[in-house]
Point group: C2
Chain length 361, copies 2
């Protein structure tokens, strides 16, 4: 008999690429960057009717448990899990399997993130629901692939083989291999071939399949999962987690497990999807003015083209500039060329070296 | 017998090109843009030992009398004159001649502005002192010309003739004609010819010579000067001034008088001079970092070149940008291409159309 369905929302990133709005105390996932609500709230709301709040778990960092709980008050407090430090997605998946197994050994779960913008909620729920049903039937891991709309060099890709099944309204294909973010030329080849999808980082499986995969490819992680299964619901949970995490290497689930497995199925998403990875992602979610500028907040613009401005509290005035990201936060303003939006992290790292900027980070 | 020497400092501009730091309530001349002190304070301090505070008059706009008096508390309050509205420099010169004549009919005066940066104070005082002495001897108007250091298209020029006299440490030449701001090609010709100096907008004359010139070329202004001479020191001064000003056209002294006169002598300045006309002028007065950036205040910069940042209260972070002016003021931030620094006025005019920005202007 198939178990109940759970959702794991990964919300542990620091969101440094969204500095100066995103700070360690008020990170990206609790900001209303797009859609008028915090990304995490949108991620939870997307599950409405599919998975009840009591079975939605958010995995974030220890320091963010409070602000996260405040952001999604509909979730039970015990469903907000704080990692003592980041050990990447492989640890998150293993931990999730342990916690869910403690509640339901036959459980199924989807792993989602708070960074995604998905507006076709009905289609999203159909794909996830079909995947959960399929995951209950076999020892497989299902990854969600996105039909690429342009040769992105910012996403990883999944090469697909034959169609395995069209279950419900979702098409499932054999996933042949995972490829890292390609260069432009390679990305263009992928698009032309038609056999490649973007790797969304979302996937669906049963607790059993997850733990089978861990046993095969990452036994250390399975040990951790088993210990955390026992610790679940006890007062020692956090101290045991800290001890277990300290023994782990930092590795992504794709790298630790997915790439080594031959039982991966790709569900082809029928919804539109975007990863809100850096300031330039805002261009996909706001209407531009006649000169290609995206303006969020208070801004006046003269002779300026293709800029992104976020200025919630104070006026930002642009005169004769193009291709900039300008973000005015409470205590700091960023002026960045769009081409460098991925490198805002570097700025944050520079600022970290100077104690006087601590309160800004 | 020659009369006493006075100085008139024109400090009436709105300084719109220095928005958002310069606002109607806190304009350019009271800001510490360069030299660590407000421009007006520097202008007054430059006269120390040459002209006593009691004979230094500041002509500003009515609304700015209070903030001006507060900025230069060493000057007697009655020496801060507030114009009801701007009527350009011809009106200022005529008004000055009337006020000074009321104090000393044989008076001499220099007309200076608060916008200039002059660091060789000794040489400046020598040139002004020599000019005041010469002005006492004949019916002449003396304009201060600056030896050009590059083919500027931002200044007017004075074409010079023969050397008339080397009095004290100053060379005086016949001024042949005034020319408006030239284009680049013309400016280059001027530099090559060696017979052109920048028109600094400073000049020196006696009350008598000034009023003789007004009688010849601008009799309307002389009438105003005579009325204001009588009103000087009375309680009706401001109301009479408002009435007189309302009858005047807006015209510069160069255009109304200098260009029409044949008794103009140019004193060749031996000091270095700069007009602080827009944000880009800051490049002449601050040390640049290795990448050509000028930073005033709190800023961190990565992969960015040739920018000007003014950020007194909050951090400004630049990443991957070049040739920008970024000014973070209390309630607004400007991001402007250097080539558009002269057009900041246009931004101010745009903002004026929207009442919600009133407090920012």
């Amino acid at each position: 008999m198939a178990g109940k369905s759970y959702a794991i929302i990964m919300a542990g990133g620091k969101g440094e690429r969204f500095w100066p709005l995103s700070t360690s105390k008020h990170p990206k996932q609790v900001l209303s960057l797009v859609g008028g609500k915090p990304l995490l709230v949108l991620a939870v709301e997307r599950l409405k009717g599919l998975i009840p709040p009591g079975r939605i778990l958010v995995i974030t960092s220890k320091d963010l448990v409070k602000v996260t709980a405040k952001t999604v008050p509909a979730l039970p407090k015990e469903n907000i899990i704080g990692e003592p430090f980041g050990r990447d997605t492989a640890a998150v998946c293993a931990l999730a399997s342990g916690i869910i197994k403690a509640r339901d050994p036959n459980g199924l779960f989807c792993v989602l993130t708070a960074d995604h913008v998905i507006t076709d909620i009905t289609k999203f729920q159909q794909n996830i629901n079909d995947s959960l049903h399929l995951a209950a039937t076999a020892d497989i891991l299902i990854t969600i692939g996105i039909k690429p709309t342009f040769p992105s060099t910012g996403f990883g890709y999944i090469e697909t083989g034959n169609v395995i099944k069209a279950a419900g309204k979702t098409t499932f294909l054999k996933a042949l291999r995972f490829v890292e973010k390609p260069d432009k030329k390679q990305a263009e080849k992928y698009i032309v071939s038609g056999n490649f999808c973007w790797n969304s980082g979302m996937f669906v499986c049963s607790v059993t399949s997850m733990q089978n995969a861990l046993a095969r490819h990452a036994p250390q992680l399975l040990k951790m999962a088993n210990r955390m299964e026992k610790a679940a619901g006890t007062n020692h949970f956090n101290s045991i987690l800290a001890n277990e995490y300290s023994k782990l290497e930092k590795i992504s689930f794709d790298y630790a497990v997915m790439e080594k497995s031959d039982n991966i199925i790709m569900a082809k998403a029928s919804f539109k999807w975007d990863d809100v990875g850096s300031w330039t992602a805002l261009e996909n979610h706001f209407t531009k003015d006649n000169n290609g500028n995206v303006i969020v907040g208070i801004s006046e613009i003269l002779d300026s083209f293709s800029n992104i401005v976020v200025s919630n509290d104070r006026l930002t005035a642009l005169l004769g500039v193009r291709d900039l990201v300008v973000v005015q936060a409470e205590d700091a303003t960023l002026v960045c060329h769009k081409d460098k939006a991925q490198e805002v992290k570097k700025m944050v790292q520079l600022l970290m070296k100077n104690r006087k900027y601590k309160s800004l980070l």
